[in-house]
């Protein structure tokens, strides 16, 4: 098997060459500086830095909270995209326009705004306090801000546009004839969704999930305002990188950064392989 399958389309060498050149310049060169810097560390020092219990607790929190946030965004992002593409309701264009705003707001502002809202005295947080509507219903106080829950809230916010925006164009492009054909063959609405629509949008959904997940892992600015930052409990990995830098410990900081980089690279690779595989299996059929 050769490197590339033959195709009548031109421009492969130009587009791939440019892609690799630009990728190397903007992404790979800087990241190699990071890895090179870390290589200055003895293996034992490297290991003791990245396997410190507090650092390990922060990985668990960062990756766990990011995964939950990305999963919630997968479900609700699909729902939002679906509603925006298929239904009409008053204010639809406005809602559609607003979906991207989490990117535009500086992350720190997002964190401050969310902390204000979800704090025990905030517009939303107060309903979860002991004497609040939901707090009374459950018979106990639910703390949102300054807990790991707060981190999930912030991460949902900052990665919300990804799933919506990757699924939306594919949904718009969906050929209605397929659904009509399925319908005329007697398929129920749910069958059409799960057998016809879902397979087509699945690669885009996974892409959106991967991007949301990736973005959430690295997030710092919004999280520190709402996390509480308590050691072992609500301390995210990027915060530990910052506190290493605070002591001018560049090596320690880059060591943790490299571990995060490797872990997210591995996970993204798995998701992309999965996506490529499903696209090949399902996408070609439609």
């Amino acid at each position: 098997m050769t490197f590339k399958k033959p195709s009548v389309l031109p421009g492969f060498n130009l587009s791939l060459g440019y892609t690799l050149f630009y990728l190397g310049l903007i992404v790979l060169l800087p990241l190699s500086a990071l890895v090179y810097k870390t290589a200055g560390l003895e293996w034992a020092d490297f290991w003791s830095t990245v396997s410190d219990p507090r650092v390990v607790a922060s990985y668990r929190l960062t990756f766990g909270a990011s995964f939950i946030a990305a999963l919630l965004n997968l479900v609700f992002g699909l729902l939002v995209a679906w509603v925006l593409v298929r239904y009409s309701f008053p204010g639809k264009r406005l809602i559609d326009a607003m979906v991207d705003l989490p990117f535009a707001l500086p992350t720190a502002v997002a964190g401050i705004a969310l902390a204000t809202l979800y704090a025990p005295n905030g517009w939303i947080g107060k309903h979860f306090a002991e004497d609040g509507l939901i707090g009374e219903l459950l018979g106990k106080e639910i703390k949102l801000a300054f807990t790991p829950l707060g981190i999930v809230i912030a991460l949902i916010f900052i990665s919300l546009p990804f799933v919506v925006r990757t699924v939306q164009p594919v949904l718009e492009d969906l050929e209605i004839e397929l659904e009509e054909a399925a319908s005329s063959l007697g398929a129920s609405r749910w069958q059409i969704f799960s057998r016809v629509i879902l397979p087509t949008i699945w690669p885009a959904l996974l892409t959106g999930f991967a991007l949301a997940f990736a973005r959430a892992i690295g997030e710092y600015g919004s999280v520190v305002f709402i996390a509480g930052n308590m050691p072992m409990e609500s301390e995210i990995t990027p915060l530990l990188i910052i506190s290493k830098l605070e002591q001018f410990d560049y090596l320690g900081a880059t060591a943790i950064a490299v571990v995060m980089l490797a872990a997210s690279f591995a996970m993204l690779l798995v998701i992309n392989l999965l996506q490529w595989w499903t696209a090949k299996r399902l996408g070609r059929r439609t």
Partner: protein, 335 residues
């Protein structure tokens, strides 16, 4: 596609070119000093113009003290640095080699023209009856302190509590450690910076006590209203020295040594000291201090050097796995 990239490069490089005035100084400082230098810079410019006829432009850069020091080490062209702890300027001397290690002896008062100290801020009417450091370790009292790992403000608070415990009758290191551990058990939120901690306390209404600098209390009053809180002076506190220095490598390259040195020396002039007092920073000048004595209640103070100096303190308390980290880990387990 590539040609477009290369066409843009010259534009990129040109845009980094700075417009030069007669003399331009860059003062790299930390967050809280904005208000002070906003008042001080015009005063110095007027003085310098009168003395030499030269116009000086002072550019300001503000951020967290240590990140700012890191930027200077990595090449931010600061003529002068004005930080909130000596260790940050030491780092510029040791890691960046941009100024001599004896920088602190080149100006009077250990190179800090003014000082502040840690005070306790409580809610109106002091409902929890907070009077001194030991009240902060009582069960049921919530204390808001910024993270000592990321904020100089938090480090000063930690050291103030440590020093207080040491100086109690029968005080020793073990007891100090237990005391500080008990204090941090009462901290519900660790903000990354001093101003973030203030917001948590004032706007989110979290905590019974906020520990912060004396001059910050005045800023809080100006922004949030005087009626909403009270300032409690503890029996003993730590003196925060706020050091300044010329960055030799930069001023020699730019030829701005004369202006930069005068800029810092003028901080000790009666005018400079008055601006400090007006911003609730304790002036070194006795006459100016006496004039503003009303706003500076006398408190017994100890210094960072009494605890061994920043270098030793860093290794003992704040480095990775040093005492603060041990306390934090033990407290997390107890929860």
């Amino acid at each position: 596609m590539k040609t477009r990239l290369f066409a843009l490069l010259p534009a990129l490089l040109l845009s980094s070119h700075l417009v030069q005035a007669d003399a331009t100084l860059l003062n790299v400082s930390y967050d809280v000093m904005r208000d002070f230098y906003k008042d001080y810079n015009p005063a110095f410019q007027k003085y310098w113009k009168g003395k030499t006829g030269e116009k000086v432009v002072v550019q300001q850069s503000h951020g967290g003290s240590s990140p700012q020091a890191r930027s200077v080490i990595e090449g931010l062209q600061a003529d002068v640095v004005t930080m909130n702890q000596h260790s940050d300027i030491d780092a510029i001397a040791e890691r960046g080699k941009q100024l001599p290690t004896n920088w602190a002896t080149r100006l009077p008062n250990n190179a800090s023209p003014f000082t502040s100290l840690q005070v306790l801020i409580v809610r109106k009417g002091n409902p929890k009856g907070i009077k001194d450091w030991n009240d902060l370790t009582r069960p049921g009292v919530n204390v808001v302190i910024p993270n000592p790992k990321t904020a100089g403000n938090g480090r000063y608070t930690y050291l103030a509590a440590w020093g207080y415990a040491l100086k109690q009758p029968g005080g020793n290191e073990q007891k100090a450690r237990e005391f500080v551990a008990a204090l941090f058990r009462n901290v519900p939120v660790l903000d990354t910076g001093g101003r973030g901690a203030t917001t948590t306390f004032m706007q989110r209404n979290i905590g019974d006590v906020l520990v912060t600098f004396e001059n910050e209390a005045e800023m809080i009053a100006r922004e949030f209203g005087r009626g909403r809180f009270e300032v409690v002076y503890p029996s003993i506190s730590i003196e925060a020295e706020l050091p300044v220095s010329v960055v030799d490598k930069v001023v020699d390259k730019k030829g701005t040594r004369k202006q930069a040195e005068e800029y810092l020396k003028y901080l000790w002039s009666p005018e400079g000291q008055t601006v400090a007092a007006q911003n609730y920073l304790r002036p070194r000048d006795k006459a100016v201090f006496a004039k503003y004595a009303k706003q500076f209640p006398s408190v017994k103070l100890f210094t960072v050097n009494d605890l061994g100096g920043w270098k030793a303190i860093g290794q003992k308390h704040f480095n990775d796995r040093a005492i603060y980290d041990q306390i934090a880990a033990a407290n997390a387990k107890k929860k």
